[in-house]
């Protein structure tokens, strides 16, 4: 009698099988075997076209990049973090204590390094972590991790069109704050933290709505997010970068919104003069201790460039320090939108 659930359970995970066996031992002989088809308990959510199913909330979470790490803390998963990697700046103050407790490495782990921490779930803020041909280090495709029993999640405003591709293949339709809410809700369901997720979403909605109310009806300045390169060129944030949405919610327009080929677009100085943005924000990155103070040299590089003298943002003193971390799609979005609004509408929104 006790054998039958074991044999039936061969189609579901061993853990479930042992749990079921335990139930029968407790219930004793003669108890009828309940009909439980495989995976009935599983919670399934779809992320970037991949079904992510968990039988019970994952216990060992690896979080990569700023947005992935901050989402984990926001959902109350700090105790389950077996590793965190690659921060772009200081985490939000609310998570500073939790992050100080977490294992952290400044560079992405190799596939072996990741698997050594024995994660059962990996949250990544950017899709390059799972890309087959990544500029940063990659741990392999999500499918290849799934074969080892490791589930994974990409924050969905950065969904590649196919598993294993880099962020050159992002669906522009997914680049919204609503995608962030959906991620929080889905991850909340997978981790049994629905209430916490709703709380975070409610707080974000409220803060973003407050900013939108303040800037409503105001003129919408053009904003360029500009990172000076060492070769005299610049990398600007294009239309499929999440910062385009941050700028829009904050009452502005991304001066490079029409360029949607990739998130970071390489342009020459002439293109910035040509587009003549009203406001320029830097995109300073990447160190776990980085703050806006570290963006001063980037501001200086832009304001001291004689070719940019006539650009409205430079001429009117509207080149501001800004962190790459604040471009990210994640729980930081409300904070970023408040920050950008205070830069482009200083008369309407307090910093």
């Amino acid at each position: 009698m006790a054998v039958s659930p074991m044999t039936r359970a061969s189609s579901c995970s061993p853990r479930t099988a042992f749990a079921l066996a335990g139930v029968f031992l407790l219930a004793g002989c003669g108890a009828p075997a309940p009909e439980r088809p495989a995976g009935e308990d599983a919670v399934t959510r779809t992320n970037c076209g991949i079904d992510v199913a968990v039988e019970e909330p994952p216990e060992r979470v690896y979080a990569a990049y700023q947005p992935g790490i901050e989402v984990a803390h926001a959902l109350g998963l700090s105790d389950r973090l077996v590793g965190t990697a690659f921060l772009d700046a200081e985490v939000l103050p609310a998570y500073a204590d939790e992050q100080a407790e977490a294992d952290y490495v400044p560079t992405l782990p190799s596939r072996e390094g990741l698997l050594e921490t024995e994660p059962d779930f990996v949250i990544s803020g950017f899709n390059g972590f799972f890309a087959e041909n990544s500029s940063d280090r990659s741990v392999g495709t999500r499918a290849s991790l799934r074969e080892l029993g490791v589930r994974s999640w990409i924050l969905s405003p950065l969904c590649p069109s196919e598993d294993g591709l880099t962020d050159r293949a992002i669906d522009p339709a997914s680049v919204t704050v609503d995608s962030v809410y959906r991620d929080l809700r889905d991850l909340g369901a997978l981790f049994g933290a629905q209430d916490r997720a709703e709380q975070v979403i409610g707080d974000m909605r409220e803060r973003i709505a407050a900013v939108e109310a303040q800037v409503e009806g105001a003129e919408r300045p053009t904003v360029a997010i500009v990172a000076p390169d060492d070769d005299g060129g610049f990398r600007v944030a294009g239309g499929i970068d999440f910062s385009t949405r941050v700028i829009e919610h904050a009452g502005g327009t991304n001066a490079f919104a029409d360029l949607t080929g990739k998130r970071n677009i390489e342009v020459g100085v002439e293109e910035i003069v040509e587009r003549d943005p009203d406001v320029i924000l830097t995109s300073t990155c990447c160190d776990a201790g980085m703050t806006e103070q570290d963006a001063r040299s980037d501001v200086e590089a832009i304001t001291s460039n004689p070719a940019l003298e006539g650009v409205t943002a430079v001429a009117q003193g509207d080149v501001h320090p800004f962190l790459f971390a604040d471009r990210a799609a994640g729980v930081r979005a409300a904070h970023s939108i408040e920050l950008v609004a205070s830069r482009i509408h200083p008369d309407l929104v307090e910093h």
């Binding site: 390169d229 060129g233 360029l259 342009v267 020459g268 002439e270 003069v273 990447c286 070719a307 006539g310």
Partner: protein
């Protein structure tokens, strides 16, 4: 042997390689050669004009002319003077350096696939600069220019010493092998430094793909004397490179002092390629391909090949940069990518063409 004796006599008399012995070029006749070079000079001038006119920010011909002749501080003036003129000048200066350095390298090593990279000069320069940035936190071009030269010179000295060991002295093949070995070794060390120091990584992009948009007029003024000195040295060894092309024994019997020639030639390459790399980063294929074009046009005489390279290479580099501006507008391609795209097929052609490969 009779042919060689005749050649020796001709060489002593004229300092020139007889055309019948080595094959001539399109413009290899006396007057034709000068006229051809003048024509190439006009082509360079046209390329520069195009480079000053073309760009994402539209400046009309009239505005460009008035910006050049009577700047009044407007947007067009800033674009012309702070973007396009420095960019074009960088292309000219780097192009001269790369083209002539390539010609000297090919003559010195008698290797048609040689470029300024063959002696590990570029790799040495890049490594020294990366160390200067990472360890000593040098960031300005004028600060690391000297590291670039020092790295290039050390690499050349090391390669020359290694290549001179054993029987036969510093043969072209041994020099090329030593250069390739050093490039591989130093390249790995450069990668290691950039991997260990993530802050240096952001500043290293320029050292991966060359670009004409980094240097400003101050930087150009700083490297121009080095380029000029390198050109003088190259001019001094032109005649000796002709005899080296006939083989070492022949060169020696024609009175060429091989060691002195090699030292001067390597010094010229260090200065020319080091200066070009300092202002434009590593740019592939120009130094390799242009000397072949020059040879096809003017014949095998290095005293003509080098001036042709000094005119053709900047033309190629400036035009490649203009292409990079218009190909994927509004984005831009660094000139190093464009020369790579254009030069790679030519390189394959050279490898396959046996006649040239036995220079």
């Amino acid at each position: 042997m009779a042919g060689a004796t005749a050649l020796l006599r001709t060489e002593r008399r004229t300092g020139r390689i007889p055309r019948t012995e080595t094959g001539g070029g399109l413009f290899s006749g006396g007057a034709g050669r000068t006229a051809g070079l003048a024509l190439a000079g006009l082509l360079l001038a046209a390329a520069c004009a195009l480079s000053i006119l073309a760009g994402n920010y539209a400046v009309s011909l009239a505005d460009t002319v008035s910006a050049l002749t009577a700047p009044a501080g407007g947007e067009a003036d800033r674009i012309v003077w702070h973007v396009r003129v420095p960019r074009t000048a960088t292309g000219v200066l780097a192009g001269i350096g790369l083209g002539v350095a390539g010609a000297v390298m090919q003559g010195l090593t008698r290797n048609p696939l040689a470029g300024p990279g063959i002696l590990g000069v570029n790799a040495g320069a890049a490594f020294a600069v990366v160390v200067a940035m990472s360890v000593l936190h040098v960031t300005s071009l004028t600060g690391y220019l000297w590291f670039s030269f020092a790295g290039a010179a050390l690499a050349a000295a090391f390669v020359y010493t290694l290549g001179s060991l054993g029987a036969g002295g510093a043969t072209p093949v041994k020099l090329a092998l030593a250069g390739a070995a050093l490039s591989a070794m130093v390249g790995s060390a450069t990668t290691a430094v950039t991997l260990l120091d993530t802050s240096a990584l952001n500043d290293f992009r320029f050292w991966t793909v060359g670009s004409l948009t980094r240097a400003d007029t101050g930087d150009l003024a700083a490297v121009a004397p080095a380029t000029l000195f390198g050109l003088c040295l190259a001019a001094m060894v032109g005649r000796d490179l002709n005899t080296v092309a006939l083989g070492e024994d022949m060169a020696r019997s024609l009175g060429t002092r091989l060691t002195a020639t090699r030292v001067l030639a390597v010094l010229a390459v260090v200065l020319l390629a080091g200066a070009a790399t300092a202002i434009a980063g590593p740019i592939s294929f120009v130094g390799l391909v242009v000397p072949h074009i020059a040879r096809a046009l003017t014949g095998p005489d290095y005293r003509w090949i080098m001036p042709w390279c000094a005119v053709l290479a900047p033309t190629v580099l400036v035009l490649a940069d203009v292409l990079g501006r218009v190909l994927i507008r509004p984005e831009q391609l660094q000139v190093g990518i464009v020369t790579g795209l254009l030069g790679a097929p030519f390189f394959i052609h050279l490898v396959r063409k046996r006649k040239v490969a036995r220079l």
